[in-house]
């Protein structure tokens, strides 16, 4: 007679979890620079699963992370000297906060990952440290209900994890607060510069051709000769909305981001106008085009910022988007009219 074997009670004999270093390599830094410039950013991932840092045992802490490699690297480089498990869940290569907002770093995905990686067999305790910013997608009481693991929300920043653990899993109030300092804002600028590069290129080419407009048609020599001032205006507006307004965010007047963008668009247009000694009517034309660009670009920075609400963005967009459209169309129309009127 065959022995009865209950498959439901089988346990894995050995689970191999790869060990990761807490020191980043040159390729990790290079990878970080690339994704900051939007190169392969949507496919910069680590395999979901369980990882070791140091030599963890069944008493060691479990830190949960997303599978965006930039975030994962940032976490592990802050864990030197610790023996811990890292449970990486599949967030489609998106960072913790954004994936939690979308629900991929969510309760069900986390519970699924706990089961798939047999976490209840790997550790004898029943607690996991989840980044605080994942709380937008992870309901701690539901995770407890579904998996038996109690969620401890860790600090906002990975650099606070060691003091957080040392203090007995207690976060001080600054550890719980998301700020948005100059350096953090600066890091986001390259991606935003690259994000609309084709739109920018399209506008630049369009303006280049329009510069050659004449009563008789398009003249190439005129394009080359007169395109400089309008092209610099467009580039200036782009930089105003993507570089200046985000960098000087807290010191720029107005609360609405589209107005902050418009502010820097005006400043840049003034400076360029003075530089080129642009006649007033032509300057107003540039101002209209520039305001629509700088204001639109800065409005998009709401997505990168850490403190804008959906209701607020919807409110400002109701006013800003129609104005941006009107200014852009009116500006281009005036630009063409001036070209045709020129002797």
């Amino acid at each position: 007679m065959e022995p009865k074997f209950n498959f439901q009670n089988t346990k894995p004999v050995a689970v191999v979890a790869p060990t990761v270093s807490t020191k980043l390599e040159f390729t990790d830094y290079l990878g970080a620079i690339k994704v900051r410039w939007d190169i392969g950013r949507n496919n910069y991932r680590v395999n979901p699963g369980l990882y070791k840092v140091g030599k963890p045992n069944n008493q060691s802490d479990v830190l949960v992370s997303c599978n965006y490699k930039l975030s994962f690297d940032h976490l592990r480089k802050n864990l030197s000297g610790l023996n811990a498990w890292i449970l990486v869940i599949d967030t489609k290569g998106v960072n913790v906060w954004c994936s939690a907002g979308k629900g991929t770093f969510g309760t069900l995905n986390l519970v699924k990952s706990i089961r798939e990686n047999a976490l209840d067999l790997m550790v004898s305790h029943r607690k996991i440290i989840v980044p605080q910013l994942a709380a937008t997608g992870v309901a701690a009481h539901k995770v407890m209900e579904l998996s038996g693991f109690s969620v401890i929300f860790g600090p906002v920043r990975a650099s606070d994890i060691k003091p957080f653990i040392e203090a007995g899993y207690k976060a001080t109030s600054p550890m719980r607060k998301m700020d948005f300092p100059f350096g953090e804002r600066a890091k986001l600028i390259p991606v935003d510069l690259m994000y609309r590069k084709y739109a920018l290129l399209g506008i630049l080419i369009g303006i280049f051709f329009l510069s050659g407009l004449d009563k008789t048609g398009f003249l190439f020599s005129k394009m080359a000769g007169t395109c400089m001032c309008p092209l610099i205006n467009i580039l200036g507006a782009y930089v105003a909305g993507i570089v200046l307004a985000p960098l000087f965010l807290p010191w720029t007047p107005f609360r609405s981001f589209s107005m902050k963008g418009a502010f820097w668009g005006t400043v840049i247009t003034l400076l360029i106008g003075l530089g080129f000694k642009t006649p007033l009517l032509e300057w107003i034309t540039f101002l209209m085009i520039n305001l629509s660009i700088s204001s639109f670009m800065m409005m998009n920075f709401t997505g990168s910022s850490t403190f804008t609400s959906l209701s607020g963005v919807q409110k400002e967009m109701k006013v800003a988007v129609p104005l941006q459209l009107i200014f852009a169309l009116l500006g281009i129309a005036l630009f063409i009219v001036f070209k045709l009127l020129q002797p």
């Binding site: 489609k92 991929t104 709380a135 701690a140 976060a171 997505g303 403190f307 804008t308 607020g312």
Partner: protein, 91 residues
Amino acid sequence: MQYLRNVVTLKLNPELCNGCRMCTMVCPHAVFEIVHKKARIIDINDCMECGACALNCQSGAITVKSGVGCAAGILNGILKGSEANCDCGNN
């Protein structure tokens, strides 16, 4: 840093609050404090409607219409006729 005033949809019903402090732990902008074992909103204009508090409020004392506070996401939603949704990570 604070965004537009008097727009957010965050609501707290202190009668339902059981004083578990979860909202004070998950809020990234320190919107809540606990006074006499009940949560209290310090400055509602600090709220960014991320929804972490409402999701982690076991007693259902907090409600907020949360979503991506991102202009590109909202435009995306309008163009595709869906909810506001950023295109990051949808491939």
